[in-house]
């Protein structure tokens, strides 16, 4: 029987990018297969909020180990709005990690927001939606949705709102956040360029007292350029990122979707 159950679908995982699930082929003992309900589908997302807009972006590659499963699998989803086209939606959810959980999470949140509109006759605010998403994740904390989520929209004052989550529902509102495979590559870049970390007044004298540059809300064009730079750089350094860049810009007028190709190698 040992020989029989050693058959596995050829989905070897690259060892360096995430933890390998235990596959006890070694050491002669009887091979036991156990079902592991998660996988990592790679990819990366990021979100930046401005004074009157929020931009959420993600690459469109989906991977399994060293395989590119598809070059176009969006990680950005409109939440709410009318019907399957989400007409009039003003909230965007991005999910990265285990794609099937991401899809399930997206469908649940969308259902909640649609029912809210049906029952209350008005759209859900991003603030409320953000808290609801946290509860959905937390309720499944013992069998979590294996995703890093970023939620974006416009708050009740018309200011860009961005919320980031861990897989079990811990969340906070931020100016910018990168998630997924290349988060560790993109986040320091955003820290530096958006929150102006490690940038000081150029003319001030050297020393500990040297004043930090204060972050200012960025304009839309600058943010779009930052996003493109972040992703073109991530593509160079991470094999699970590439193929296409999908961007959603949320303003008071709705959601504008942009797509541009990335390197396919």
């Amino acid at each position: 029987m040992a020989a029989l159950s050693s058959y596995s679908m050829p989905t070897e995982q690259p060892a360096f990018s995430f933890q390998n699930q235990p596959q006890s082929h070694a050491s002669g003992g009887p091979t036991q297969h156990s079902f592991y309900p998660y996988t990592d589908n790679g990819g990366s997302t990021l979100g930046i909020s401005g004074s009157s807009f929020t931009i959420i972006a993600g690459d469109t590659r989906m991977t399994s180990g060293y395989n590119i499963l598809t070059r176009y699998a969006p990680k950005l989803f409109r939440i709410g709005g009318e019907g399957p086209e989400h007409a009039g939606a003003k909230i965007v959810l991005s999910v990265v990690g285990f794609a099937a959980d991401g899809q399930a999470l997206q469908e649940r949140l969308d259902m909640v927001v649609k029912m809210y509109r049906y029952q209350h006759g008005k759209d859900m605010s991003v603030h409320a939606c953000a808290q609801r998403l946290s509860h959905i994740l937390y309720n499944k904390r013992f069998f979590p949705y294996y995703v890093q989520a970023i939620l974006g929209g416009i708050d009740e004052e018309g200011v860009g709102a961005l919320y980031s989550y861990d897989p079990v529902g811990s969340y906070e509102r931020e100016q910018c956040r990168a998630a997924g495979a290349a988060a560790s590559l993109i986040m320091p870049f955003l820290d530096n360029q958006v929150n102006l970390k490690n940038q000081y007044e150029p003319d001030a004298p050297q020393g500990l007292e040297k004043p930090q540059l204060q972050p200012q809300p960025l304009d839309r064009q600058t943010v779009e350029e930052l996003v493109r730079d972040a992703f073109t750089s991530a593509v160079e350094r991470h094999i699970e990122v590439g193929d296409g860049l999908q961007m959603m810009v949320i303003t008071k007028d709705g959601i504008e979707e942009l797509y541009s190709p990335l390197k396919q190698d």
């Binding site: 020989a3 029989l4 159950s5 079902f35 499963l69 176009y72 699998a73």
Partner: protein
């Protein structure tokens, strides 16, 4: 006489010894701590399924072998299952789970024909499309993985969507879904997918591809898979789905094989020179 009615018609304990109820389920007197067991690994398996979209339809293929580990156990197993006139599902992985899903699809088909009584056979608008079917199967797969009781398959669902445009997508034992102009499961993801992508690098290219070329590319891929996949065989099924319906051939033989490359292979096993 034994006055206990429960004992009537049963083997007598004083003659045969107590009945061994060890293997019975709990409600029939089996052991109380009998755990529910779920599939932990596939047993009889099918290998790759490959498919490609072309301008007006989809071509899908899978061989007719079901393996028991490395044993080529069943050599006449049809792994492409047509669903109404708009969709075909290709099954990789566990064969018993495939048969379960096939029964599920049959009952779904009956339900569909009952509730919407499509009296006009030419009217395909109200028919369940490949896209509808894919969504449904993906939900079934995801539900089962969430119950830690997976259906050990990778599926390719292909056919036409509601607008009669070509549709191709996949669902696997984890409930993961995606779609692309070309798809391949199992070993095909390594061996066939690069060849398919060379023929059809993107969506635009698939819209320009004609049926004959698509079929030719798929047949070529089946040949390469047979050359290199030890769990494959030279008889396969191939289906074309377009507006005319499903055209399924289940007894195709690989043609024009050339094993000239075989003696060039170096570096495996004992052959080192």
């Amino acid at each position: 006489m034994n006055h206990n009615p429960q004992a009537w018609g049963r083997p007598r304990d004083d003659v045969y010894g107590a009945y061994n109820s060890q293997y019975l389920p709990q409600h029939h007197g089996g052991p109380s701590a009998h755990p529910t067991t779920h599939t932990q690994s596939p047993i009889v398996t099918g290998t790759s399924v490959i498919a490609i979209k072309y301008s007006t339809g989809v071509v899908i293929a899978a061989d007719n072998l079901a393996s028991y580990g490395s044993l080529a156990r069943f050599t006449d197993v049809k792994r492409l299952k047509p669903f109404n006139r708009k969709a075909v599902v290709g099954f990789g992985g566990d064969v018993s789970d495939m048969q379960y899903l096939d029964r599920l699809l049959s009952s779904l088909d009956v339900q569909e024909n009952y509730s919407h009584n499509n009296d006009d056979p030419e009217d395909t608008k109200a028919l369940m499309s490949a896209k509808n079917l894919h969504t449904y199967l993906a939900k079934v797969m995801y539900k089962r993985r969430s119950d830690f009781n997976p259906l050990w398959n990778s599926l390719l669902i292909c056919g036409l969507d509601e607008k009669n445009k070509p549709f191709l997508a996949t669902a696997d034992l984890l409930g993961t879904t995606y779609s692309a102009p070309t798809l391949a499961t199992g070993f095909g993801a390594h061996l066939a997918q690069p060849l398919l992508r060379k023929a059809v690098p993107d969506e635009e290219a698939s819209q320009k591809l004609d049926k004959e070329t698509a079929v030719e590319v798929v047949r070529e891929c089946m040949k390469v898979l047979f050359y290199r996949d030890a769990r494959s065989m030279n008889e396969y099924s191939i289906a074309v789905v377009d507006e005319k319906g499903v055209e399924l051939k289940e007894k195709e033989k690989l043609e024009n094989q050339s094993w000239a490359f075989a003696d060039q292979i170096r570096g495996y096993g004992t052959q080192t020179v």
